[in-house]
């Protein structure tokens, strides 16, 4: 087949085929068309980059807040520790004062101030058996006269 014959064949009309009646094509929504909802619009606006940035920022804020909480707790602990030491110190000082006042040296000194002295001799009476009856007491006669002086 020559080139001319081919061209003639192309230009020759084809036999007409029965054609379906024309009708309006139903509108087809684009599968990637944006959703009309609010979330859809927001999602369209938030790119992955934005999400990542927000995540990073939120993480940083969380870390900072956490550290602040820890520091605040540490400060409070420190303050409590200082209070504890102060109370311990006061307790120990009070204990020492009490111990000094209770000490035998202090008591002896106070007694001396009140003109109280240890006895030069303590006479301890020997134990007596209770199985044996005690001797009957002896009574002397009444004095003949009053012992009151000046009368």
């Amino acid at each position: 087949m020559t080139a001319r014959a081919t061209a003639a064949a192309r230009s020759a009309p084809r036999e007409a085929e029965p054609r379906t009646p024309l009708r309006p094509v139903p509108s087809v929504r684009h599968p990637r068309a944006p959703s009309p909802s609010l979330w859809g619009r927001a999602r369209r606006r938030l790119s992955p980059v934005s999400v990542a940035v927000v995540l990073v920022a939120a993480s940083l804020v969380a870390v900072v807040v956490g550290n602040m909480q820890l520091a605040a707790g540490q400060l409070r602990l420190q303050q409590l520790q200082a209070d504890l030491v102060a109370v311990q110190s006061a307790y120990a000082s009070t204990l020492q004062k009490v111990a000094t006042l209770e000490g035998p040296a202090t008591i002896a000194a106070q007694a001396r101030d009140h003109h109280r002295v240890p006895p030069s001799e303590i006479l301890q009476i020997p134990a007596v058996s209770l199985a044996r009856p005690l001797p009957a007491p002896t009574f002397s006669s009444a004095p003949c006269c009053s012992l009151t002086p000046g009368r």
């Binding site: 940035v53 993480s59 420190q78 035998p104 001799e121 301890q124």
Partner: protein, 607 residues
Amino acid sequence: MRTPRRARSTIGVRSRGSLRRRVNVLRTIVLVGVCGLVVQLVNLQVVRASHFQQLSASQLLSNVTVPALRGGIFDRDGQLLAESIPTRTVVADDFQIANPVQEAAVLAPLLGVAASTLVPKLTERNGYVVLAAHLPIGQATTLENDALPGITLLDSSARSYPDGALAGSLLGGTHADGTGSAGLEYEYQSLLAGQDGVERVFESPNGVALPSAQPVVVQRPVPGTGLELTIDAPLQFVTEQALGTELVDAHGLTGTAVVLDTRTGQILSMASLVNTNESDPSIVAPPTWPTPTGIPGVYESQNNLAVTSIYEPGSVFKIVPFSEGLTDGVITPTSPFAVPDYVTLDGHDFHDAEQHGLEHLTATQILEYSSNIGTYEISSRLGEDRLLSGIRRLGFGRPTGLGFPGESPGILMTAAGFAPTDMAALPIGQVDAVTPLQVLDAYNVIANRGVFVTPSLVRAYLGADGAIRSAAPSAQHEALTPAVARELVHMLIRVVAGGTGTQAAVSGYTIAGKTGTAEIPYAGRAAYVPGAYNATFVGFAPAQHPVLSMIVVIQRPTPVIYGGSVAAPVFARVMSYALHRYGVPTSRRVSAPSLQGGSVTFLQDVT
């Protein structure tokens, strides 16, 4: 005309597709980058956080040891004897102080130091100057609130002894850093000290503490364990006062007195005093604590003389041949002896304290009048081996088990070195060197029906959480039979009833005991210091049912040297108080057994 448009359209579509792809690639790269950052953030902040914290800490933080509060020491009734009070140490970094004069003016009233004294310290260019070692917490808080530049406050504690010098030789003391230096403070250092804590403070790289940076508590300090002693503070006071007064009156150099609970071995009082009014160039005086005792010139010894000093005990050692003789059946309390005035052994004369003719004495009278020659005769019957084993049987030659730092086991004669003269010198307490506590333990064996009880000083341990843990009871073993102990008690009663120890008598109670007066040897020389004696009295009461045992030793009294005249009165005073204090029932009237024997005229006991 349509073909170019179609071509442009194709190119535009391709171009948009390519752009989209590029944007997607870029987005992916950025996303991967951000994800990488997030991963790295998590890695740094979470996974490897501790590592980087450590790195940071090593550069900024330095660990500071926070000393634990030292445990307290109490007597048997809970009376406080020693405690630690939290304080602060004020340290200045003078490199940070720009205006030392102004800062000194602020510091002076708080530290109680003149500003003129502080200014040179604040300009030392040292970097670490301690301005006050033990500042009370109240003043320290004020100083802290002032936040003066270059001033740092460190935790510390001050050891306090509320009763002053009371029991100083027993309690000991602490170094400047708070560790025990002597006595019980030293012995129980590990218990009393507790566990130090750790704090991290922020510092600049050159080691300067950063202002207003709060320290981080890494480990809280654990307070030390407290000690409840067997000591009775009022009895300790009375013992020290009686001993100190006698020390001054008798012109003694040092004095030791110990009161022991006979059954339990608990030490109720233990005093070691030094009379600084007296001195002897031939006798070295022990160091003293500076706190006054209330008796002029008398101070607490830094050494617990009852356990750390050894001495030739003299006649109180005669209990060894008597106990061995009775155990062995060599003698009975009524065994008769013909006692001359002196004996000569290997060219050496041994004599009694006082001249007398040939006396016929029983064994009891030999002990009662402390006859040296009579004791030699008993020892001769025993022989060397029995004598040496008898010494060890009563606890001499080894530590008492008290565990006190520096406790001496004593120095005993061995069989290898036994000389002929030792048969006379050893039983009268002239050869062996022993501690006063060993002598007391030996007599406590007799008081305790032949049972040796290890002495103790600690009754309980008081934990930081308030828990009380009792100390283990003292170990016991039988050293003498009860029958021998009973016979010895009766013999010792005679010593106080009519022998050399009459001044140890306490009205209402039967006392058993023994006197001793022994020469003092030179240190490192085989000779005795002329005119220097140790006077001893050791005994227990009530004799029939002993509750308390006690020893008194006074070194180099003068001019009266005898144990029966110098040490026995101290025994009587302290024992009288103690028996009354503990409500010990009085003894029944004891009629001393009539003993057959000669007319004894010697009433002293010098060996």
